[in-house]
């Protein structure tokens, strides 16, 4: 039990509680709720155990599903994101990402922003496509994916900078 895993566990429960107690009740313009729990997968340390990430993100998604009565869509989105996270890292930070220990919660460079944006977009696309599950409502689906992605990215960046450890 090192400090990294304690951090991960604390982040897991704090984000879960924040999502259920606060962010599921926001309802901006009547229907937009930011899905901040994605931040758990974004902030999970680069070189930590990948199996733990897969299992914990599945547990995270499933718990959200239980609270939202949404039948598995958040679990699916979370595990796909957790599994393809290394590929996204490689795409955004170049091949040698593992050696330079990328830290997401540092100053906002274009690469970090791109990474956060792509992860959120991938996750939201899967969640809303699976939730709506209909070709006839494709416009509504795209509209919802687009707006929720913007909202989640903004809220995520705000949260990252609010809880960023102070370095002088």
């Amino acid at each position: 039990m090192n400090s990294s895993s304690i951090n991960n566990i604390a982040r897991f429960f704090l984000l879960l509680a924040a999502q259920i107690l606060i962010f599921n009740n926001i309802g901006l313009f009547g229907f937009l709720n930011p899905l901040v729990y994605v931040l758990f997968i974004i902030l999970y340390p680069v070189n930590d155990n990948k199996t733990t990430l897969l299992i914990s993100s599945f547990a995270m998604g499933l718990t959200i599903d239980y609270f939202l009565n949404s039948g598995g869509v958040h679990a699916l989105g979370s595990i796909v994101l957790a599994y393809y996270r290394p590929a996204l890292f490689r795409f955004c930070f170049g091949l040698s990402y593992e050696y330079q220990t990328v830290k997401i919660n540092d100053s906002l460079t274009p690469e970090r922003f791109l990474f956060i944006f792509l992860t959120v977009l991938l996750h939201h696309t899967i969640v809303f496509v699976m939730e709506i599950f209909s070709v006839f409502l494709i416009l509504e689906m795209l509209y919802k994916i687009f707006l929720t992605t913007i909202l989640t990215v903004i809220v995520n960046i705000i949260i990252i900078y609010l809880i960023k450890p102070n370095k002088r």
Binding site: I20, L21, G27, G30, F31, N33, K50, T51, L54, I55, F58, G61, L62, D65, Y66, F67, L68, N69, S70, G71, G72, V73, A75, L76, I79, V80, Y83, M130, E131, I132, F133
Partner: protein, 274 residues
């Protein structure tokens, strides 16, 4: 054999991923093909408990308005009591077939109205006698029907749910149609399959029809707001403005029809014979 084990150890993450992927896909497909929250629902000990705690905080903000609603209902009931001529008769209620029905009062602890499939969680379950497929109303009109129950909680499939289909009719004429929601506006639901020859007007009242064992006849739903011609069929499509504000629900009543068990047993039997 050794190679198989080597392969499994080497690709354990990939295998785990596909296992979880298949698992969540099965759940999603099941939830789309059948009642959505059969497997995963907020009617359980943990999420029910959390929603109940959240509700105790939320309640304070609406104390005044819920007091007003209760006072109004009290006044109505008192009026009925005082205007009664023969006190030995049971209280006359304005819904036909009510004498057959018990009402179980319950409190809404979580209400969703932003999704396409909306569910409401209430704080009484099968301990209070609530079972699946019972109707739920409040003092203004229809709310939905029970989908899942646990010991102390139950989820309601709200009428604002694209999977909900309710038998409804126009109060004046007895023309029967199907009530569904097009997932657009929380204040309106759509009534389909009303024949063209029905002389309907804006403002007519829509009530539940008598063709289901879930809702008794003549429970209020809403009024006609807009009438469309369906070009492909010979039917009207009607926008119904709900009496209920589905975004603001406090207490609801679960309808426990006395004949429910009997009807259910009968239906199960005829299903078996098919």
């Amino acid at each position: 054999m050794q190679q198989i084990f080597n392969y499994i150890f080497k690709n354990s993450n990939k295998l785990l991923f596909f296992l979880l992927l298949i698992f969540s896909f099965t759940m999603i497909i099941k939830s789309h093909s059948y009642h959505r929250s059969k497997l995963i629902s907020s009617a359980n000990f943990v999420s029910g408990g959390v929603y109940e705690r959240m509700n105790t905080v939320d309640e304070y903000f609406s104390l005044k308005s819920s007091n007003e609603i209760l006072a109004k209902e009290n006044a109505r009931l008192k009026m009925l009591l005082m205007n009664q001529i023969d006190t030995s008769k049971p209280l006359p209620l304005d819904i036909k077939g009510y004498n057959n029905t018990n009402l179980i009062p319950s409190k809404v602890i979580h209400n969703s109205y932003k999704a396409r499939q909306n569910y409401i969680t209430i704080n009484s379950g099968f301990k209070a006698g609530i079972k699946e497929n019972m109707g739920v109303i409040n003092e203004k009109g229809i709310v939905g029907l029970i989908e899942n129950t646990s010991e102390n909680y139950a989820t309601i499939q709200s009428i604002l749910n694209s999977q909900s289909k309710i038998n409804a009719k126009i109060k004046k004429f007895d023309h029967i149609g199907t009530l569904q929601w097009n997932c657009k506006n929380t204040g309106f639901v759509q009534l389909y399959d009303i024949p063209r020859l029905a002389l309907i007007h804006k403002g007519d009242t829509i009530v539940t029809g008598g063709q289901s064992d879930i809702f008794p006849e003549n429970i209020n739903i809403g009024t006609i707001e807009k009438i469309y011609k369906d070009n492909e069929t010979n039917y009207w499509t009607i926008d119904v403005k709900l009496f209920n504000d589905m975004t603001n629900l406090g207490y609801v009543y679960v309808l426990k029809t006395k004949d429910y068990e009997e009807i259910k047993a009968l239906e199960d039997k005829s299903k078996k014979d098919e």
